[in-house]
């Protein structure tokens, strides 16, 4: 039902009934007594906090998380087919389309879900490309490797910046673009290598 179909008469009646309701209602007489008894019967908790809740430890954990996250990304993208020789693809997985707009990932945590898809696509394409790189000239392989290296450096730099500023949508968009570039380049090269 849309706003256009609201019955004005019924709405007016409802407003009258709402206006007639009391402003406040007292709780039943024995409510407070029951609440008090419940609180008093609960054993008092110690206020001592664990070492993991101390600010210093939390700060260190945050730094470790950022460093670890970046390291995982670095390792993952470096396995994307350019350690040794660039991978050149055979069965290119479907192209990932990631509109990082207002409805897209809004934080690093959300983006990591999408990022895992990118990394999977890169790994698949790289493996296929490795198998077919014999059909490309050594010069082309070297240039492809160099291009992948350039994209990886951009990904790593944007990723580190995003880890330090996890809600920066502009960075998320940039990072997604770099991944798109990498997937697209690997995919195109694979198709070229296939002849």
């Amino acid at each position: 039902m849309t706003d256009d179909t609201i019955d004005e008469g019924k709405l007016r009646d409802l407003m009258k009934e709402v206006a007639a309701l009391p402003r406040t209602i007292e709780p039943p007489a024995d409510s407070w007594a029951k609440i008090r008894a419940g609180i008093e019967s609960t054993p008092a908790r110690t206020t001592r906090t664990g070492f993991w809740q101390r600010p210093v430890f939390l700060a260190a954990a945050a730094v470790a998380l950022v460093a670890g996250s970046s390291a995982v990304t670095a390792i993952a993208i470096s396995r994307g087919g350019h350690n040794g020789a660039p991978a050149i693809v055979g069965a290119a997985p479907s192209h990932i389309t990631l509109p990082v707009s207002d409805s897209g990932p809004a934080s690093l945590a959300q983006f990591t879900v999408v990022e895992s898809d990118y990394l999977r696509a890169v790994n698949d394409l790289s493996a296929t490309l490795d198998a077919e790189q014999g059909s490309l000239s050594p010069e082309t392989v070297a240039k492809l490797r160099e291009s992948i290296k350039v994209i990886d450096a951009a990904i790593l730099e944007a990723r580190n910046a995003l880890a330090a500023d996890p809600a920066n949508r502009t960075l998320i968009q940039m990072l997604a673009n770099s991944y798109e570039q990498k997937v697209d380049l690997l995919k195109r090269t694979t198709e070229m290598a296939r002849g």
């Binding site: 350039v150 968009q173 673009n177 697209d184 195109r188």
Partner: protein
């Protein structure tokens, strides 16, 4: 001594040229193809020149290495041609000149062979690994892809997609729908409004480290996106063109030489931002850079 050496060099050159000539075999084929038919051509090494003409036929001429064969066949709606090399691992250069109906759909793929296309108003799909692609004219759709080759487009394709990794992309003209991307290759887009080169409506131009140069006019209501990681960007439009700019650089500088709007500090506490309207506004231009410098200026 000097004369003797020169004579010797000339003699060696003539012998070499004669051998190359003798090692090449000339070929010529002609087949009927509908005016809007399709043709696919593969030539890995050498060169391919495609020219549109006002006939419903295809003419393929060229020279091949001795022993290689030109394979060509198909019907009036679609045909295919390729070189069967005697040595697939090390193919020798073939030079091919293809005349096709101007409205035909042309698909060409090479490895290092250069591709030159003129006079096609149909669709073009061009792929090279390390060769150069050069297109002149007004194709309806143009898709040009290279890995490390350069791409040059002169004209007014209605729809253009151009991609290279380390090669440069140069577009002199205009199009209503453009997407250009490179990794480290530079991108240059230019049209001269005074020459009636047209305006841009939808465009996405992106690089990773390659420099981007845009010097052209924009339609009212257009949507243009520029994106780079660390390439420098120089965006120039006519001073009177109405554009709503949204420029953001995470760690790079923004210079505004187009109007008096001031660049602000980035909303995330670093970098630079510039959100402003030039003239009456209307078109939307979004520029994103991680650390490459961005410059806005008036088109020359």
């Amino acid at each position: 001594m000097s004369h003797l050496r020169r004579a010797l060099l000339v003699a060696i050159s003539i012998t070499a040229i004669a051998r190359v000539g003798a090692a090449q075999v000339k070929v010529e084929r002609g087949l009927h193809l509908d005016a809007d038919g399709s043709i696919r051509l593969i030539n890995l090494v050498g060169s391919v020149r495609v020219t549109g003409w006002e006939r419903d036929s295809v003419s393929l001429r060229g020279s091949l290495p001795k022993g290689d064969k030109l394979m060509m066949g198909g019907g009036p709606r679609a045909m295919k041609a390729f070189i069967e090399s005697t040595d697939d691992r090390n193919p020798q250069p073939s030079t091919l000149e293809l005349m096709v109906p101007a409205r035909a759909k042309v698909w060409v793929k090479t490895a290092t062979a250069d591709i030159d296309v003129t006079g096609i108003s149909g669709d073009l799909d061009l792929y090279v690994v390390g060769g150069r692609i050069r297109v002149s004219g007004k194709p309806t759709e143009l898709n040009a892809e290279a890995i490390d080759g350069d791409i040059e487009v002169n004209g007014k394709p209605i729809w253009l997609r151009a991609k290279s990794a380390s090669g440069n992309v140069t577009f002199n003209g205009s199009s209503s729908d453009v997407a250009i991307s490179t990794v480290s290759g530079g991108i240059t887009v230019s049209s001269v409004p005074a020459d009636g080169s047209g305006k841009f409506e939808r465009a996405k131009i992106e690089s990773v480290t390659g420099a981007i140069r845009f010097n052209a006019d924009i339609e009212k209501g257009a949507a243009i996106d520029f994106d780079t990681h660390s390439g420098s960007m120089e965006i120039a439009i006519p001073r009177k063109t109405g554009v709503d700019f949204d420029v953001a650089s995470i760690a790079g500088s923004i210079t505004n030489d187009l109007n008096y709007a001031k660049v602000a500090k980035g909303r995330y506490g670093r970098g630079s931002e510039l959100v402003m309207t030039n003239a009456t506004g209307g078109a939307r231009v979004t520029i994103r850079s991680f650390k490459g410098p961005v410059t806005l200026r008036s088109a020359k």
